[in-house]
């Protein structure tokens, strides 16, 4: 859909208002809109509200082979997406100029500034390194996308935890979240972008332009800085001529803003950490105001609890003995295994096919009876390296096999992922 054109009267009014130092929402020249940072239930998911602009960032990680010229450094990958729900002019799949500009700017700000220690992401030099992927989604466009995107990206990176890795000689074990606590990334500093918009050929300056102000601006100066007053990236677009002292003044304003925003991010991270530790509820759903419609709510009704224990015992005694646990799997052919004998096909296929299947299984079972009983049976799928290799014991069984999800079999979730060289 096309975006609404800007009418002449709006443009004139906005420029006149800026000359009188008035903004549409009553802010001062150097004021930011209210910033709200909240985190999701997963580690690495962050929502940022900058006024009405809304952005979500999600961080994920994966083990891959590193680049050839940098064998002991991890890889950072950034991706910004303009969702069509953000503005009627955004279309899915269309590479617009704005999208390319935002992507390049975010990469320059976060990757070239070396804010993340990429060498700590290396697992096995030359073979396995972590690839950290940051996906930023724009949910509502009300101006100043770059600032909001950088805040969301760096907050999500600080919030993210990657799985722990253990190296013993030649073996590398990646522990899941249940086995060992995931560890945070090592972040040196937090670069944050601050945008300055210029009007009337550089005469007037506004910080944090909203969408309408962005439409009438002449040019944009974007400074990425961290709280130690180090400039990470600086970019001027729109072709305006800026004087040296204007740029210096902007950098001073930026350092003040950046320290405020960094403090805000740290406070939000601390709150989230506290909520997770004390077991309180956290996540995106909890950060919304509770405006529930209790249509399905029923009143609390008392339940008779006096003879629950006796009833439960009775039921347990009267219950039938459960069937025996399934024996250890049978290797019917290289690469396949079978647990149990398989139940009858209940899909109602024609009788001929059923008879054929029965004949096949009978033959296979006869041929491989020798390989049946072992204490430890290892089934490995030689096809893909990434598959889980499951070690099964005779006592605790679980399947990696074709048929039955039968009763009695599921024990604990002991899935050790082992990678063998």
């Amino acid at each position: 859909m096309r975006d609404t054109p800007l009418s002449n009267c709006e443009r004139d009014f906005l420029l006149k208002a800026i000359e009188e130092k008035k903004r549409l929402d009553g802010r001062q020249t150097y004021d930011y809109r209210s910033i709200k940072i909240s985190f999701g239930t997963d580690y690495g998911c962050c929502f940022v509200d900058l006024g009405k602009t809304r952005i979500m960032a999600q961080v994920s990680c994966e083990l891959i082979t590193p680049k050839e010229n940098r064998p002991n450094e991890g890889i950072m990958f950034f991706n910004i997406e303009l969702s069509p729900m953000a503005s009627p002019s955004f279309e899915m799949g269309r590479q617009s100029e704005l999208l390319v500009k935002l992507n390049r700017q975010l990469e320059r700000c976060l990757r070239n500034s070396k804010c993340i220690d990429t060498e700590s992401l290396c697992v096995v030099s030359g073979e396995k390194v972590w690839q950290i992927r940051v996906d930023v989604h724009l949910l509502n466009h009300d101006g100043n996308l770059m600032d909001a995107a950088s805040i969301a990206a760096i907050a999500a990176l600080c919030h993210f935890r990657r799985p722990d890795v253990g190296i013993q000689g030649e073996e590398v074990t990646v522990y899941s979240t249940e086995e060992r606590d995931p560890i945070p990334l090592s972040i040196y500093h937090m670069p944050i972008c601050v945008s300055f918009s210029f009007f009337q050929q550089g005469t007037y300056l506004l910080v944090d332009p909203c969408e309408r102000e962005e439409r009438v601006m002449d040019g944009l100066l974007m400074i990425a800085m961290n709280k130690h007053r180090e400039i990470c990236s600086i970019q001027s677009s729109g072709g305006i001529m800026l004087l040296k002292d204007q740029v210096l003044r902007c950098s001073k304003i930026a350092s003040v803003k950046v320290s405020e925003i960094t403090e805000l991010i740290n406070k939000a991270l601390a709150n989230d950490k506290k909520a997770r530790k004390t077991g309180g509820k956290f996540g995106f759903a909890e950060s919304l105001p509770q405006e529930r419609i209790t249509a399905l709510k029923t009143d609390v009704s008392p339940v008779e609890m006096s003879d629950v224990k006796e009833k439960a015992n009775e039921i347990v005694q009267r219950a039938e003995v459960p069937p025996q646990t399934v024996p250890s799997p049978v290797l019917t052919a290289p690469g396949t295994g079978q647990v149990g004998e398989g139940i009858e096909n209940s899909w109602g296929l024609e009788e001929e096919e059923e008879e054929e299947e029965e004949e096949e299984t009978m033959e296979l079972e006869e041929g491989h009876e020798e390989k049946e009983r072992g204490d430890v049976v290892v089934i490995s799928d030689s096809g893909s390296e990434e598959e889980d290799v499951v070690i099964l014991n005779q006592v605790t069984t679980k399947e990696k096999a074709c048929s039955s999800n039968q009763q009695g079999a599921v024990a604990s979730k002991q899935q050790k992922k082992k990678k063998r060289k």
């Binding site: 096309r2 609404t4 054109p5 009418s7 002449n8 009267c9 443009r11 208002a17 008035k22 009553g26």
Partner: protein
């Protein structure tokens, strides 16, 4: 038949609710009543279906409609809207009205315009105009004159004011004959206002500050009760410049 409607006046209805009209035998001798279905109600054979969620309203003698809330405008015939001239092509102007398609406005549809005497309209101007054709099968068409050929308040306008967008429900409330919001606003300070049915409002006052105040007040009184709105207006009037 009317009785099942009358019960539900003032209730919240959801799309999919059905009013069915089987005439019971006992009232076959009375004349069949006519019911006019307004926006949000649609006839489907013997039944009337609700297609929008909202409150059922009634106007004497027999008009029923659903009062619903939305921001996206759908052009309707006879509605007066504020449009922005997006392009000039040959004999017609392409006007953006906030709908899915741009409407066309002929240059002859202005008061006193002839082939030699073209109206002074530039790209980016605001026009207050009326739909003469607005259905889902054709491109919508606008005119800036009424049936007698007079402008009647329509045409190009807008130097010096501020244009902003609100929801359609607020616009209808502002345009209602005994609008409370308009009455409260009048007490603040003098200003000019043009309200388009497509959710666009244009405001102009003596100073820029006052214009901004009126614009912000209108945008914020969307979800307020009458009480909250009056306290807000009073606070602003006391502390206003």
């Amino acid at each position: 038949m009317l009785s099942c409607f009358k019960d539900k006046v003032g209730d919240v209805l959801l799309p999919g609710d059905v009013f069915s009209f089987q005439m019971p035998e006992s009232i076959t001798d009375s004349k069949p009543e006519k019911v006019v279905c307004g926006p949000g109600l649609r006839r489907n054979g013997d039944e009337v279906l609700v297609c929008k969620s909202g409150i059922l309203r009634h106007k004497q003698p027999n008009l029923y409609w659903i009062d619903s809330q939305q921001r996206r405008y759908v052009p309707g015939k006879g509605e007066s809207v504020i449009g922005i001239i997006a392009a000039k092509s040959g004999d017609i102007f392409k006007v953006d009205v906030g709908g899915s398609e741009q409407a066309s406005l002929s240059y002859l549809a202005f008061e006193g315009a002839t082939k030699r005497n073209r109206p002074n309209v530039q790209v980016g101007d605001l026009v207050y105009s009326q739909f003469i054709i607005a259905n889902k099968d054709m491109e919508p068409e606008l005119v800036c004159i009424d049936s007698c050929g007079r402008a009647n308040g329509m045409g190009v306008f807008g130097a010096g004011g501020l244009l902003f967008k609100v929801s359609l429900g607020l616009v209808r409330r502002l345009l209602a004959p005994q609008s409370e919001i308009a009455k409260d606003l009048e007490k603040m300070f003098p200003f000019e206002i043009v309200v388009g049915m497509n959710g666009r409002v244009w405001v102009k006052s003596k100073t820029i500050q006052q214009t901004l105040i009126v614009a912000n007040l209108l945008e914020s009184c969307e979800n307020m009760t009458a009480q909250q709105r009056q306290t807000l207006f009073r606070r602003v009037a006391d502390g206003s410049i």
